[in-house]
Every structure is written in C-alpha cells, then in structure tokens.
C-alpha cells in the first residue's frame, strides 16, 4: 500500500528553478532513496512534503492526508531532518530536545536517551558552539526520538564522519526492519545503495528514473584506475575489450558496470601494480541518466 503519494507535483520558484510534474509513490515499509546533485530539486520536494510550500500544481499526500492542509496531523507520525540544520539561538542540546519533546507532547524519554548514547551526542553544550557533525547528530535524535512511522530525511549524513555514518546507516536499517517507511535524499549513491529498496533520480527538477536499487546498481558506472607495469600491458588491456576511458602514463581508467568478471579476466593477462576506485560525482556514476543530454549540448 502506498503511504506517500506525489502526483504531478510542480513548484517553480521565481528564479525558474523548482520541480516539474513529479509523480511517484512510496509504499508503506519501504526505504526510498532520492538521488540528485545539489540544486536538483530534492529539498523543494521535501519542503512540499512537509507542508512548508504550496504546490503550484499537483498534490502530495501522506496516507489520506494532504501535506499542506493537514501538515500538523501528518507530523504526529513523521520524523524529519532538515537539509540545513538551523536550531534556536542560545539553547543547549538538551534544552532543544526538551523543547521538541514538549512541542510533540512526548513524555517517554527512554528512546531519546538511548539515541543520545548511541550517537555519542554531548547535549550539555550550547548548540551555537557545536561542530557540524554534533549538530547533525542532534538533528538525528530530534527526528527519531518520538519513534515515528515515516522518516523524511534530507541529506541526513552530511557532516558525519565515516564511523558515525555507519552507525546512522545501522539505525536506518533497524527502523526499516521495524516496518518504518523511509524517504531519504542524498547525492551519494553508496549510502542509498546500502539502505534503500528503490530510488528516484532527479535532475534539474525532473524525475529521470524511479528504479529498483538492483537495476540502479547495474546501471552504475564505476571507474577503476589500473596501474600497470609496462606499455605492453596497456596494449593487452586495450585488446581485452574493456571500456577504457583515459590513459595517462601507465595509469589506465577502466569503466566497469556489472562486468566485473570480464574486468578481472582482462587484468589477469597483465602485470598490475595498483588498483584504485575513482570517486565520482552522481552525474558521472549515472551517466545514463545525467549524461546524454549534456553530450548533446
């Protein structure tokens, strides 16, 4: 059963940016990734979902409730992490959490306490003086403390160190196993891949794909830099039918999608001195969705 239903949603800012005719559904208990580079329209979609913005056209519903008109009722069961965490002046972490609990009428604080210790959050200091990562942890606790049924998370791992990122992903998987619905935006495919069942890809305000995570993995483009011993090896690699993107000296960038067997067979023929996976932007990872039009331009 669909729990979040977005139909023909259009919201255009005066700058001309925005989201255009978006339609997708998220099922109850599903983890849905929302992928796009910065300024693609991820946060705009989420702001409509939270009822902050009025849609120009189309609708956004959570269950039977309209996201704009019945926002307060939706919030009873929603946990939200804003894209840019901005808290209140002069509060300490604990004061902020107490305030949020009071605003939600939340009495039971066991879950809050366990989240605080799990994320190693120090709640005693003024929020103003907290590091970016600490603020992000605070935002996570505020979104998870009331044990909501639906999570809407706008780039939730920004500012977290790799270790905390893993703890966060564990947390998400745990909530997922408890039947919660998760909508999570990101510009990083790796964390979406680890947590989500399906993902939508947004580009310049338009949804270019909504696919199963496995088909996205197949579409994913990895570039592996192979360092070889000699020119002879370069020739052999060229002949092995691999998709070679770039050669500089004895570093060869090989594009791999799902043909890892072929890649390894190709490497087998030559002397390999080093292997490195190139970090790439989302546009490079999903050239299929982002690239074509750029080439045409």
């Amino acid at each position: 059963m669909s729990i979040i239903i977005i139909r023909n949603l259009t919201k255009i800012y005066s700058s001309g940016k925005g989201v255009f005719d978006l339609s997708f559904k998220i099922n109850e208990g599903e983890a849905f990734g929302y992928l796009g580079p910065n300024a693609a329209g991820k946060t705009t979609t989420i702001r409509v979902m939270l009822g902050f913005l009025n849609a120009d056209n189309g609708s956004c519903r959570v269950g039977e409730l309209d996201c704009r008109k019945q926002a307060a009722r939706i919030q009873e069961n929603m946990g939200y992490i804003p894209g840019e965490a901005a808290f209140f002046d002069g509060m300490t972490g604990m004061e902020f959490l107490n305030f949020m609990a009071a605003m939600r009428g939340l009495k039971d604080r066991l879950r809050t306490d366990s989240l605080i210790s799990r994320l190693e959050l120090d709640t005693s200091g003024k929020i103003r003086r907290m590091s970016k990562g600490m603020k992000q942890k605070l935002a996570i606790v505020a979104a998870f403390m009331h044990d909501p049924a639906i999570y809407v998370l706008d780039e939730p791992t920004i500012g977290l160190d790799p270790l905390m990122r893993n703890i966060f992903i564990e947390l998400i998987l745990e909530e997922k196993s408890r039947g919660k619905t998760i909508f999570m935006s990101s510009h990083n495919f790796d964390e979406i891949e680890r947590t989500c069942d399906r993902a939508g890809i947004i580009r310049e305000g338009k949804l270019v794909a909504v696919e199963d995570i496995n088909s996205l993995k197949a579409a994913r483009r990895k570039v592996i830099t192979v360092t070889v011993a000699s020119d002879e090896d370069i020739r052999k690699l060229k002949e092995s039918g691999l998709d070679i993107e770039n050669i500089s000296g004895n570093h060869i960038d090989v594009v791999v999608r799902d043909n890892f067997d072929g890649f390894i067979a190709g490497l087998n023929k030559c002397r390999v001195r080093g292997l490195d996976i190139k970090t790439q932007s989302l546009e490079q990872v999903f050239l299929k969705y982002y690239g074509q039009e750029k080439v045409e331009e």
């Binding site: 804003p82 840019e84 209140f88 605003m103």
Partner: protein, 262 residues
C-alpha cells in the same frame, strides 16, 4: 496557543522587554521629581526647534499634564517602538530566515497555533510593559506629590499608549510574517513606525507643518486631548483597536497561507 512555545519564546525575549522597561522606568524616575523644579526654564535652554520636536511646547498644568507633556509625547513613543521592532522581527521572520521555523513546523502543531502563540506573546508583553509603567508612574507620583495626580487621566493616557502600541507592534508583526529575510522585515516593520514618529516630531516643530501630523498614526494618540477628555479620544481608541485587529488578523492569515522556504 502552544504553552511549550510560549515558554520558549518568553525565555528568548524577556531580556529585551526588561531592558526597555528599565529604561522607561528610569526616565519616569527622572521626570516626575522635576515637577517642582522649574523645568520650563531648563527646557528653555534647549534650542526651540528641538524642544518643540519632542513635544515639550505644549505645557499643561498640574502633575498629570506635566507627565503627559514631558514623558508621553516622545519618550513613551520611542522606547516601546524599539521594543516592538526588535521583538516582532525575532518572533517570526528570524526563525524563517535562519531556517529554525522548520523545526516548529515539523511538530504536530498547526501554523495557526504557532503564529497565534507568537502574536499572543507580542500583545501580552506590550500590555505588561504599559501595565508596569502605569503602576510605577502612579506609585512614584503618589509618593512624591500625594494627591496631585489625576489618576483617571493618567490611566487613560497609558491605555491610549497601549492601544497605539498594539497597532505599532501589529505593523512590525505583520511585516515579520510577510518576509523571508529579516532585512526586509526590519526595513518595513521598523521603517513605518519610525516614519510615524518622525512625522509626529516634524509636525510639532513649526505650526506651518502641523497638518503633516495627520499622516502619522500618532494623530490618534494626543496626550493633551486625552487628559482633557476630548470626545474624539474615545473614538480614537476604538479606531486604534480596530486597526490592530486588522493588522494581527492579516498577519495570521498571511502566515497560514504563504510559502515558507525553510
């Protein structure tokens, strides 16, 4: 109304209120004892234009007239105005500008509930400000010059000032609800009240400019008319209350309907 939000709003803004209140009390404490000094001579030392601009030209008789002239024509307009501009901006526009409004709206409270709480804080605090000044003003007068204060006139003076500041705070609050950025909220929500104050001062400087005073909100608050119980005083009170109701009403409706890019 959300009690939790009201408490937090109070915690964030009470200092501003107390500072303004202390300044207002300090001026009361300076002005009232001057009643038996020959203050007219002192005012005479000021350049005439400046004294006129501050409304010191209308010299009334009796203690009430004295206070009305030296306190209620200028000081009691300026300091609460600063208060309204600062606090109204902090109540809504700053949260939207910074993005923390997102946290208020991500709790199960309607926009209506949130904005009426903020409006209530503004009105309650303005009421308290004038309430305390009134009580202290009466107390000081009775202590220093027993029986000389026309208490009823003094109460009306303060009641009128309070209504005028329901309007001034309403202008600033409306502006705070309209704009996403505090710079615009402050420009309009501060600019209009300050303009009213400047017009009021200009109209006092020279009888030739008297007409210009009709374009200021303070045309509806004339301390001299109030202590004389001029009939228009009460009509003016009702007009002030109506304007305030329209301003706060529109602020609430606009906040409820608008886009909040937080």
């Amino acid at each position: 109304m959300s009690f939790a939000l009201f408490k937090t709003t109070t915690r964030a803004n009470w200092v501003t209120g107390v500072v303004i209140l202390l300044v207002m009390i300090m001026y009361l404490a300076i002005i009232i004892p001057m009643y038996d000094l020959e203050i007219e001579k002192m005012i005479g030392l000021l350049p005439e234009g400046l004294a006129n601009a501050m409304g010191y030209s209308e010299v009334f008789t009796g203690l009430t007239g004295f206070i009305a002239s030296y306190y209620y024509c200028f000081l009691i307009i300026m300091f609460p105005m600063i208060y309204c501009i600062i606090v109204a901006n902090a109540l809504v526009a700053r949260y939207v500008d910074r993005g923390s409004m997102a946290y208020l709206l991500s709790t199960p409270n309607t926009r209506l509930k949130i904005i009426t709480t903020q409006a209530a804080y503004m009105l309650v605090s303005v009421t308290l400000l004038f309430g305390v000044v009134t009580v202290i003003g009466i107390g000081m007068s009775e202590a220093m010059f027993p029986g000389e204060l026309d208490i009823k006139g003094f109460l009306l003076l303060n009641l009128g000032a309070m209504f005028a500041f329901y309007v001034i705070s309403g202008i600033s609050f409306l502006s705070s609800c309209i704009f996403n950025e505090t710079k615009y909220s402050l420009a309009l929500g501060g600019g209009i009240p300050v303009l009213f104050l400047v017009i009021n001062m200009l109209s006092n400087v020279n009888p030739d400019y008297k007409w210009i005073g009709n374009f200021s909100l303070f045309a509806l608050y004339r301390p001299a008319d109030i202590i004389e119980r001029a009939p228009f005083t009460f009509v003016a009170f009702i007009i002030l209350i109506l304007i305030a109701a329209v301003l706060y009403g529109s602020a609430i409706v606009i906040f409820n309907r608008r886009n909040l890019p937080v």
